[in-house]
């Protein structure tokens, strides 16, 4: 076997029909999720959350509080899963790592000059290495959208491949920031680049730009993952982030994953929600299923 890897021509990525993909995404929302299906889905969604704090005002105390919540979502409800991960800036990784030790909750760190990514490659590499050395299990990088929109796909590809190398054993999530890409065709092209360059996950958004994750955009990315799987048999994970704040919408995302990629993706190794406020709505719905009544939001902790 030759080791020379030939790259596909990314300008030949499949095209997306906008009207049809929006319509198709809305069809998943017509599924009616009830009873056991609902409880299973709510718990699964809870277990797929990357609890996130990415603010200039983040402090060790704030991060510690969030880490506790990630492990104790709602202790009065028996046998609830933990969050999948906590997602923080590199400077907070070592604190988070200590807080979630032994719980199975992963520590994810944004890097590569998140959220804009407007820094030299050397800075981005250092940023990533610092996070990994501090104990990050996962790295959430941003692509250089300026270069991408400029048509410099090789630069974007090389940058992702370089960061992947800097990640070592940490899993790499590549944020496309779909809200800045403009068309579904470009989302698909960026997804293909990220996947080929070695992304373990592709992720919609930083959460700093609107629109963030939408179902049609996520569907475009799931199709890119599916095509890659068809061609190579290799799985890539998906993380919609931002804008998913209620349980009903989260369940519809799960329906979409289930029907586009199938059962193998229905776990937090391959699917995540980048969301923080989602957790309490899932908990509220779980309590509603258990007790038959809605409780006030004051009964669910805010961390």
């Amino acid at each position: 076997m030759s080791k020379i890897k030939t790259l596909p021509d990314f300008t030949k990525s499949p095209t997306i029909d906008q009207t049809s993909i929006i319509e198709k995404a809305s069809r998943f929302q017509k599924r009616s999720i009830k009873k056991e299906t609902k409880i299973f889905g709510l718990k699964l969604a809870l277990n797929m959350i990357d609890l996130t704090t990415l603010e200039g005002k983040d402090t060790p105390s704030k991060v510690k509080q969030m880490c506790y919540k990630a492990q104790h979502m709602h202790d009065s409800y028996p046998d609830l899963p933990t969050a999948a991960a906590v997602c923080v800036y590199p400077s907070m990784v070592s604190i988070a790592k200590k807080e979630v030790k032994g719980s199975g909750v992963k520590v994810a760190s944004v890097s590569t000059a998140f959220p804009a990514g407007q820094a030299p490659l050397s800075v981005k590499i250092d940023d990533t290495k610092f996070a990994v050395d501090s104990g990050a299990d996962e790295i959430d990088m941003v692509i250089s959208r300026g270069k991408f929109l400029n048509g410099d796909y090789n630069y974007v590809y090389d940058e992702i491949a370089t960061i992947k190398e800097a990640c070592g054993k940490a899993r790499l999530k590549v944020i496309l920031e779909t809200g800045e890409l403009g068309t579904f065709d470009k989302v698909r092209r960026a997804s293909d680049i990220a996947i080929h360059a070695g992304a373990d996950f592709i992720k919609t958004s930083t959460g700093k730009i609107s629109p963030a994750a939408t179902m049609p955009v996520t569907l475009v990315m799931l199709e890119a993952i599916k095509d890659h799987f068809y061609k190579t048999g290799k799985m890539v994970g998906m993380k919609p982030a931002g804008g998913i704040s209620n349980a009903k919408l989260a369940l519809h995302y799960l329906v979409m994953v289930n029907e586009v990629l199938g059962a193998d993706w229905m776990n937090n190794t391959w699917f995540r929600f980048g969301a923080s406020s989602l957790a309490n709505d899932l908990l509220m719905q779980l309590e509603k299923q258990r007790t038959g009544i809605y409780q006030s939001s004051d009964y669910f902790s805010i961390d």
Binding site: T19, I21, S32, T37, F229, Y230, L261, A263
Partner: protein, 492 residues
């Protein structure tokens, strides 16, 4: 990429551990009588023969109600009532006529849930479709045509639009309420009166519509609804005092109708069968095209005259499309029409199920490669899995004949000219679909396709403003839009 099928064990949908719990739409809110008489001259009247037949739920095979069987005498009574009502109705100021039609539209919207449930109970279609397609579109047709009622002079400038008279309308069982709306709305808007016969397996929503007609206060005799089978239909067609026949149904019956009205002054529009080509080019948005194939052939269990039943795939993307199509088919849920998660409901009747199964046998016998969805079927009722045949040619029977079920016949092609020839190589010409990213290719194809409707990068989309109808053995005349109105007018 290469052509080989890696068969990496991708598991989708029904194989998943995450099965959807039943989510049935409630039937507690619907109001159905045990027995339905004929709706003639604004009143419910018993059939002169005293005969009734059963309408059943095809998903459970249980009887829902007794339906009156109209004979020649009853039809005559209905036509006389319509004739009597025609004068005053056609002379009513058009804006007053419009008010009645608007009222019907609003009443359908108000009772949308009830109509959806009854449509699914009586016909077997998935509630997702009757709720999201049939009932809203039916209301839209009444709204659209009501809007034209007092603007006909502007719709046909330089002409003097006048109502024709009494229209005899015979509708099929695949979209019972929607077809009633397609027929009634333009006829009434143009000032005609109507004798309408719903199909014998799906009379309920038309009869419920008669209740709305009463509630809307339409003058007696403007709308008459008579139920029965083929002989009732033939009584309508052959009645001397009918001015116009509007028929939607099979090409076989369409031919009989045309023969029977030869030498009379009756005008006719016939919307008949189809065997539409759905064409996928290699530059198509493949995943969306796959969804379009699904919507094209499995919508309403394939009981659609414009269904995309002949699929043409350009050879370079053949393997990819087929693989994606099969995976998608495996996620389709067949079952209880009233369950909100059901994608494909029940086949309309035992007879139709047999027809479909016979064609599947023929396809297998002809040596085509057969595939069907991995879903399970309910033990009772008339159900059929979504199926497809590959390795077929234009010479195969399952490619030539309309099956009217969830059976797709797949062929490959190499060039634009070839696919245009093959798409047109059928006695039918109702609809077609084309999937490509290139606008010029769409225009080239649509201008050469002999089909009444050509969808580009979508399929089975309907709008009251868009005319619908066929070429060749798919019939003549158009329904919907201005063309649909002109079929109910004398334009001098």
């Amino acid at each position: 990429m290469g052509k080989k099928d890696l068969n990496t064990g991708l598991k989708l949908g029904v194989d998943s551990k995450w099965q959807y719990s039943p989510a049935p739409e409630s039937t507690s809110h619907i109001n159905l009588k045990k027995k339905y008489d004929l709706f003639i001259d604004g009143k419910w009247v018993a059939p002169s023969s005293g005969k009734y037949f059963d309408t059943i739920n095809p998903a459970t095979e249980e009887k829902i109600a007794d339906i009156a069987e109209a004979n020649e005498k009853d039809v005559d009574k209905a036509v006389k009532a319509a004739r009597k009502a025609f004068g005053p109705w056609s002379k009513l100021p058009a804006k007053e006529r419009a008010k009645f039609i608007y009222r019907i539209a609003r009443l359908i919207q108000e009772r949308a849930r009830e109509f959806s449930v009854i449509e699914s109970l009586d016909g077997g279609k998935a509630i997702r479709e009757s709720r999201d397609v049939d009932v809203p579109l039916a209301a839209a047709h009444f709204f659209y045509n009501a809007g034209w009622a007092d603007k006909l002079d502007y719709a046909f400038p330089g002409k003097k639009p006048e109502a024709i008279g009494v229209a005899g309308q015979i509708i099929p069982w695949n979209f019972p309420l929607l077809m009633a709306a397609w027929k009634l709305a333009p006829a009434l808007a143009c000032g005609n009166t109507v004798v309408l016969k719903p199909a014998e397996t799906t009379p309920l929503t038309a009869l419920k519509l008669a209740e709305l007609v009463q509630e809307a206060g339409l003058p007696d005799g403007v709308v008459n609804i008579v139920t029965g089978a083929g002989s009732t239909g033939s009584s309508i067609v052959n009645h001397n005092d009918i001015d116009k026949i509007a028929f939607t149904g099979s090409t076989g019956v369409g031919k009989i109708i045309q023969k029977s009205i030869v030498g009379t002054n009756k005008r006719a529009t016939l919307e008949l069968g189809g065997k539409a080509a759905n064409i996928i080019f290699e530059d198509a948005p493949i995943d969306q095209a796959v969804e379009g194939i699904i919507n094209g052939i499995y919508f309403n269990q394939g009981h659609v005259c414009c269904a995309g039943s002949r699929l043409f795939i350009e050879e370079p993307v053949y393997d990819q499309v087929i693989r994606k199509l099969k995976d998608r088919i495996n996620t389709l849920i067949v079952g209880d029409p009233l369950d909100k998660n059901t994608d494909i409901g029940a086949i309309n009747s035992k007879a139709q199920l047999k027809t479909i199964k016979d064609y599947i046998k023929i396809g297998k016998k002809e040596g085509a490669e057969f595939f069907e969805g991995s879903c399970s079927l309910p033990s009772k009722g008339f159900f059929c899995k979504p199926t497809l045949f590959t390795g077929v040619a234009q010479s195969n029977k399952i490619v030539q004949e309309e099956i009217f079920g969830p059976v797709l016949a797949v062929q490959t092609f190499r060039s634009v000219d070839e696919v245009i020839k093959k798409a047109n190589n059928t006695p039918y010409g109702l609809s077609a679909g084309v999937w490509t990213d290139k606008g010029s290719k769409i225009f080239n194809l649509t201008s050469q396709m002999r089909a009444g409707v050509v969808w580009a990068n979508t399929y089975n989309k309907f709008d009251p403003a868009s005319p619908f109808g066929g070429y060749k053995e798919s019939g003549f005349g158009r329904e919907g839009g201005l063309h649909g109105l002109s079929a109910y007018l004398n334009l001098n």
